[in-house]
Symmetry: C2
Subunit: 337 residues, 2 copies
Amino acid sequence: MSRRTGVPTLEDVARAAGVSRATASRVVNADERVQDATREAVLAAIRDLGYSPNLAARSLVTRRTDTIAVVVPESDERVFNDPFFAGTLRGVTKALALTELQMVLLIGSPGDGDGRLDRYIRGRHTDGAIIVSHHANDNLWRSVAEVSLPTVFLGRPFAEHPGLTFVDVDNVAAAALATRYLVDSGRKRIGTVAGPADMSAGADRLEGWRSVLTEHDLPADAVELGDFTVAGGGDAMTRLLAGHPDLDAVFVASDLMASGAMDAIRASGRAIPRDIAVVGMDNLELATRTLPPLTTVVNPVDEMATQAVAMLLAQLEGGPILEPVTMPTELVVRESA
Amino acid sequence: MSRRTGVPTLEDVARAAGVSRATASRVVNADERVQDATREAVLAAIRDLGYSPNLAARSLVTRRTDTIAVVVPESDERVFNDPFFAGTLRGVTKALALTELQMVLLIGSPGDGDGRLDRYIRGRHTDGAIIVSHHANDNLWRSVAEVSLPTVFLGRPFAEHPGLTFVDVDNVAAAALATRYLVDSGRKRIGTVAGPADMSAGADRLEGWRSVLTEHDLPADAVELGDFTVAGGGDAMTRLLAGHPDLDAVFVASDLMASGAMDAIRASGRAIPRDIAVVGMDNLELATRTLPPLTTVVNPVDEMATQAVAMLLAQLEGGPILEPVTMPTELVVRESA
DNA sequence: TTGAAAGCGCTAACAC
DNA sequence: GTGTTAGCGCTTTCAA
């Protein structure tokens, strides 16, 4: 055992097993061409010494870190309060648990003030990245492109760039699905609480809502933006009702915002769905617990995360950058609309 | 720039700046004794080349990884669904953001079936660890002790061991506080939905509840165990009511379980707090949204996480292992009791 | 099937 | 203040 730190090295293992370091390394890395007897000896030494490879040393020569970054350019508050992110992280964690890869979670404010995320990416400290919740003004896409870091976006990135791939739902279609349901149930004055304009999910869902209203010659002017939080949804709804007291329905671009919006609607003295029908999006567990339970569009975060990891792994194994994947959605009808 | 990978090394920087690798290294590591002009030249080269240190190479020589493990021996499901863990991770993330340390999140089932967590710890792949939600039968404490990995437990570990330190609330006192409040408000037949017996938070809160009842000569036989989930709390409450239909109050060892328990109580046709008073523990945001809002004991996860990180940092900087810290709690009275 | 040896990129001890 | 040099622990040719 190494005299200095007490942590056994491969050298120590080799000596204990009476073989060379190269052979010991082969055993550690499951190389075929090692005689069974030799392998046994080395494995025994590993057990006895409690050997564990020094990852830094390995990384230095293999030029792989065996980690992938999960980048979320949002505040810690949001990341750890919003069930959408919880679902995403759960999905990624689950998918990654089947591999040898370790997840490195990088959280940073949108816009990335001090450039921490950017520097980490440009430093190529991980083998690849999954970028969630991308905003128009953070240049993460540029960074990954410039250093050719294998990356999959979870949610379509705002920028178009050859080689940028992603997995997402068709947010335009999802919002259209929700809005069409409201139209079909006879609602005539349909507003929306949209997501941030600097995120594709925000912009696309707004467009889906608008397209259906236009298609039916209904007014598409009742729009307020929220920030994908409960409070933001409540505030937006309050403004919406103030500006358009005749609303009889609203499509809210996320369940979290819908929860806040429903509180605001009730606070205004209106009944759901009698006076105002509400449809959300995400289908969080929360949607079953609102009053009344929320009709919403499924956002299959778990499957999306699995898909994103699979696409990234394919790239890491040397495959080509796969085409973007769009997951199907569906409407879940409960009692709010 | 290195001809092979396209990633610039310190050697490249040194050459570009016309200095030795050692001097370039000094600039990168903010060593004082470098002439201003030299420093400028090196910094310029770093900028031009887009240099970023190879962490593996640095780690190999410094014998530090600049990462700390946050170990949660629970399923991904629980970690990413339970707001208690979200709060903990948020606190740790926030505290770590002020340092140079990167968090490595290690999630694994209790009991640690395949030993992944254990191996990671024993491999000393991080400079230190914060262990959350420790169970009696996982031997994480033994592993950190055997490899002398600087560690702080978040929540008192089940095992006593010299050198094991932790931050926690006084769970006995917290449960006693809740139970005493119920006694003082005239309740006579007080049950409890306790946490898992293999966790100190479970055992201690049960003991606190029992001590107060015994002290007041009240029966302390109405106990059911839950698993700190909503469903588990509901099931336990249902059993409790079946076995003890005369209950007029219950202390539930977590807000999440309390939420489930309240559903079960309502389902049995009883009113809260008229027929049965309920006190929870944690003071999650959820507690403000139950019907009726939940009276509960504060579990200051954010402050605990901050404290744990501070204690770990002190150890990493070479200080002694600090004494365990117990944070204060308080009762938040809402409408459920 | 095994071993010898080179070298990954960096820091730190030492010399100047 | 700066440069030279050794060496961290590992994988991977290359040769035997």
